[in-house]
């Protein structure tokens, strides 16, 4: 894999909690327009990896986006730089409408913002917001509250929020969980939209069919380490991967 420098580059990522090494020497890249899958058995460290890349947990190693190092940047700065993530548990702002949920991400941040707002409030209209809602097919729900929506709809709103941030790369943590068939279709459409716009995607999910069909490349984690990377077909046949999943499925049976 060549690092063109326009996407996400992760090198030597490591996270330890107490004495436990949750993530160990993980490296990969996500190029613009690529959908890369991140899979592994339960507890492999997938969400921790996303936490580390997006700055939500302390880690070692390097994180670069479009050639710029984000290793020491706080979480919000990484998001502003274009490295956006979603959460496994949908985390929307219940006090705000759907549109406002997106607006907080889409509106630019200026240091004089509050001073201007005190006199002439910026109301949150932004082209990116409507655009993102349209992309997930929820434009007509723009003024609804998150509490009025179904679980699946809330998930889509969270995805729309990621899109409204003008990301370069999005990290999606289990976006398909709990979606019905229509909503899963919307998700698929969204993923294609992202790819078409040249946005890189790191996709973590347990829905194997989704991962294998959408992802260009797949990175497989087990016990915090990368045990395999490659095209979906290669991964399907990789004995290390099979063993890792069988091992866990044996434990589960």
């Amino acid at each position: 894999m060549s690092a063109t420098g326009a996407g996400l580059a992760v090198r030597g990522l490591a996270v330890s909690y107490g004495g436990v090494q949750a993530v160990d020497d993980v490296s990969f890249t996500v190029e613009p327009g690529e959908i890369v899958g991140l899979i592994g058995p339960n507890g492999a460290g997938k969400t921790t990896t996303i936490d580390a890349i997006s700055g939500f947990t302390v880690s070692r190693g390097q994180v670069e986006l479009a050639g710029r190092s984000l290793t020491s940047a706080p979480a919000h700065a990484r998001a502003r730089a274009g490295l956006v993530r979603t959460f496994q548990s949908v985390e929307l702002f219940d006090d705000l409408s759907v549109r406002q949920n997106l607006a907080v991400a889409a509106l630019p941040v200026r240091w004089w913002g509050p001073l201007v707002d005190a006199v002439a409030p910026r109301r949150g209209r932004h082209a990116d917001v409507d655009d993102a809602l349209d992309a997930v097919g929820l434009l007509e729900l723009a003024d609804a509250r998150p509490t009025d929506l179904s679980h699946g709809q809330r998930r889509l709103v969270a995805l729309a929020r990621a899109l409204a941030s003008r990301p370069r790369v999005v990290l999606l943590d289990e976006p398909a969980a709990g979606l019905d068939t229509d909503e899963t279709e919307a998700l698929g459409t969204l993923l294609h939209t992202l790819r078409d716009r040249g946005i890189g995607v790191l996709l973590v999910d347990h829905d194997m069919s989704l991962v294998l069909t959408t992802c260009l490349r797949i990175v497989v984690l087990d016990f915090g380490r990368v045990i395999a990377t490659g095209a979906p077909d290669e991964i399907r046949r990789d004995p290390n991967v099979v063993r890792a999943y069988l091992g866990s499925s044996e434990a589960n049976s």
Binding site: P74, A75, H76, A79, V84, L92, V104, P114, D117, A118
Partner: protein, 657 residues
């Protein structure tokens, strides 16, 4: 040393009730105070057979008979037994009726509930034990069989009873550590605190564990206060209840989890206060003039605690932190300029047409409204529980007064500088807020208020400032005072009204804007906010700065209203009362601030109720305490919230026909 052991004892009980129910009980000291009073009252008899027989059990429930005579001249043992039963009943009652229903409520609801409990208990204690006249101060002498006499240690003479307290504190710590580490009960409690379902597996119901732990905590509190009151030879409903503040510091330093660390922290706080008392009394000539004698003793421990708990916290809540549910509604003002101007017009008409006393009432309410607005911004919109608002107001007031009198700085420069000083301190207050949240933050802001009070309000440099020059702008006399019925001049009132209306419009604008959305996002979910690119730390700082600005406006107005400023105008009690009123009205709505302003003592509602003649009786305090608890449990949106929900229901019903 005695002081430190006492703090440690109280703090142990605090940690206990936290471990059991996740509640930092601000009323812990008040509970201990009431239990101790019960004991002392039982033993309040004269040995002469013709004298007082004592042995009365005093009940804390208004409406029920105040006292029940149990037995004449009870022995210490009997009295302790009865007291223990009372403590158990109180602890179980408080848990069952107040804190168990609030299990999953946001921290603010729990703070307000414990506040209501504090108010209720201290008011009831005053009613039952002290009576209406204040001279009951010496009525009940705290007495417990403790050794008298003293021991010489080096230069100091230490009463023997202090050693007893230290031993009790140590023994309690050891006992608690053992119980919580080695017994099934202790382990089950820890498990239940982390995972209710898991606790069921141990065979003990989480509810029962809660009750047992609270009974234990209340008993500990009672024992602590009995010992402390005997040792310091004094007990008082309010003062003793406030001893919970240093205990809170110790509990936080112990991470609200480790008994050992908490006890050690309590001892350390006590020792540092004694040491600093030594330090400041030796007439250190290098201490600047403006630093009063006791200031360091009061302020330094607080600063240390703040630094320590800030280091303990983390910039973003971890995944394990439970998300808040049911935050108070933060309605979006639809037509802010119109609404604010409408209210202002009504007030202005009042100022121009009514008599002097009404004008004063309107001015008082106006000032209280802007201070309440500061709470709406920082606690309502951004969810940062802050009790330092009145300290900010006081800072602005004293700075303005000092600049205007000693340094002859003219109006409006002096008040602008005063507000600026408040904003600076407000931003500094925002610093611990970056790393701590919820009740811990509330305690941190209490600490800041205490520090400001010690360092600023009690400074000799501010001694007896009075006669601030009349404010004048563009030749218009904005002063308050005038002769006869022209007193409380409309000019001052209108000026205050203009400032406060402008502030309200600014707050409404902020609420409707991107800044307001971001504030609410931070309140709602800090992690998601960061993920959405919001700089949580700077949002919090901006919230504190804005609220300090608003409180500063109120403080400056107070400076020009009152001829003599005093710390009591800006005390923590005043802050608690103000926050409580705003919560009652709707803490995240501007209407809530207006509500608090109207209800403020000496304001419009007081005038409607008969004006200067009436006064807040102890019954009123007790009732407000109860109301707070009820509102915290049942209606976190406050009264304006409940009213607007009711309105919406009516409107929906009408529409659906």
């Amino acid at each position: 040393m005695g002081g430190g052991a006492a703090i440690a004892l109280l703090a142990l009980g605090l940690v206990l009730s936290f471990k059991a129910s996740g509640v930092v009980n601000l009323a812990h000291g008040a509970l201990g105070m009431y239990v101790a009073y019960v004991f002392f009252e039982l033993r309040n008899f004269e040995t002469d057979p013709a004298g007082k027989p004592g042995g009365d059990l005093v009940l804390p429930i208004l409406g029920l008979p105040a006292r029940v005579h149990l037995v004449d001249r009870p022995t210490v043992f009997t009295a302790l037994l009865v007291t223990f039963v009372v403590a158990a009943a109180l602890g179980a009652g408080v848990y069952g009726l107040v804190f168990r229903p609030l299990r999953n409520a946001p921290p603010l609801a729990r703070v307000v509930a414990s506040l209501g409990l504090f108010l209720y208990l201290s008011a009831v204690a005053k009613l039952r034990f002290v009576g209406e006249t204040g001279q009951g101060a010496a009525a009940i002498q705290p007495e417990f069989p403790l050794p008298s006499g003293a021991v010489r240690i080096g230069d100091a003479v230490v009463p023997t009873s202090n050693f007893v307290i230290a031993v009790v504190a140590l023994a309690s710590t050891v006992a608690l550590v053992c119980v919580y580490r080695f017994t099934r009960f202790g382990l089950a409690t820890r498990a239940a605190a982390e995972n209710e379902k898991g606790a069921l597996l141990t065979g003990l119901s989480p509810d029962r564990l809660g009750y047992l732990n609270w009974i234990l905590a209340t008993t500990l509190a009672g024992m602590a206060v009995i010992l402390i009151a005997t040792d310091t030879h004094g007990i008082d409903p309010t003062t003793t209840s406030l001893a919970v503040v240093p205990a809170l510091g110790a509990a936080l330093l112990g991470g609200l989890s480790s008994f050992g660390a908490t006890a050690a922290a309590g001892l350390a706080i006590g020792m540092s206060q004694s040491t600093l008392t030594t330090f400041q009394s030796n007439n250190q000539s290098w201490l600047p003039d403006w630093l009063s004698g006791g200031a360091l003793a009061g302020a330094l421990p607080v600063v240390v605690i703040l630094i320590a708990i800030s280091l303990q916290g983390s910039t973003l809540p971890t995944r394990a932190t439970l998300l808040d549910r049911r935050l108070p509604r933060a309605p979006e003002p639809k037509h802010p300029v119109l609404a604010c101007c409408a209210v202002a017009t009504v007030a202005a008409v009042g100022l121009l047409t009514l008599d002097a006393q009404w004008r004063l009432a309107i001015i008082v309410s106006t000032i209280a409204t802007v201070i309440a607005l500061s709470t709406v911004v920082v606690t309502g919109f951004v969810g940062q529980i802050s009790l330092a608002q009145n300290a900010f107001a006081g800072l602005a007031a004293f700075t303005t007064a000092k600049l205007a009198t000693t340094y002859d700085i003219a109006f409006p420069i002096a008040p602008i500088l005063g507000i600026a000083a408040a904003v600076v301190v407000g931003v500094v207050t925002g610093i611990p807020a970056v790393r701590v949240r919820g009740l811990t933050l509330a305690v941190a802001t209490i600490g800041i208020a205490v520090a400001v009070e010690n360092l600023v309000f009690n400074s000799p440099a501010l001694l007896g400032i009075s006669h601030i020059p009349r404010p004048e702008l563009f030749g218009i006399d904005l002063g308050l005072r005038d002769v006869g019925d022209k007193n409380f001049r409309p000019a001052f009132g209108l000026f205050a009204l203009a400032l406060v209306t402008a502030s309200a419009i600014i707050v409404a604008n902020l609420r409707r804007s991107a800044t307001g959305m971001r504030w609410l996002a931070v309140r709602s979910n800090e992690r998601a906010a960061a993920a959405a690119g919001i700089n949580v730390a700077s949002m919090k700082a901006s919230a504190f700065a804005t609220s300090a600005f608003l409180a500063g406006v109120g403080g400056v107005l107070l400076a020009y209203e009152l001829s003599s400023l005093s710390t009591d105008n800006f005390s923590i009690i005043a802050a608690l009362a103000s926050v409580a009123l705003v919560y009652l009205g709707g803490i995240a709505s501007i209407g809530g601030a207006l509500f608090a302003g109207i209800l403020a003592t000496g304001g419009v509602l007081t005038k409607l109720n008969g004006g200067a003649a009436g006064g807040a009786s102890q019954y009123q305090f007790a009732v407000s305490g109860l109301v707070l608890i009820i509102v915290a449990i049942f209606s976190p949106d406050g009264i304006t919230g409940a009213a607007s929900s009711a309105m919406r229901r009516v409107v929906d019903k009408v529409r659906s026909r």
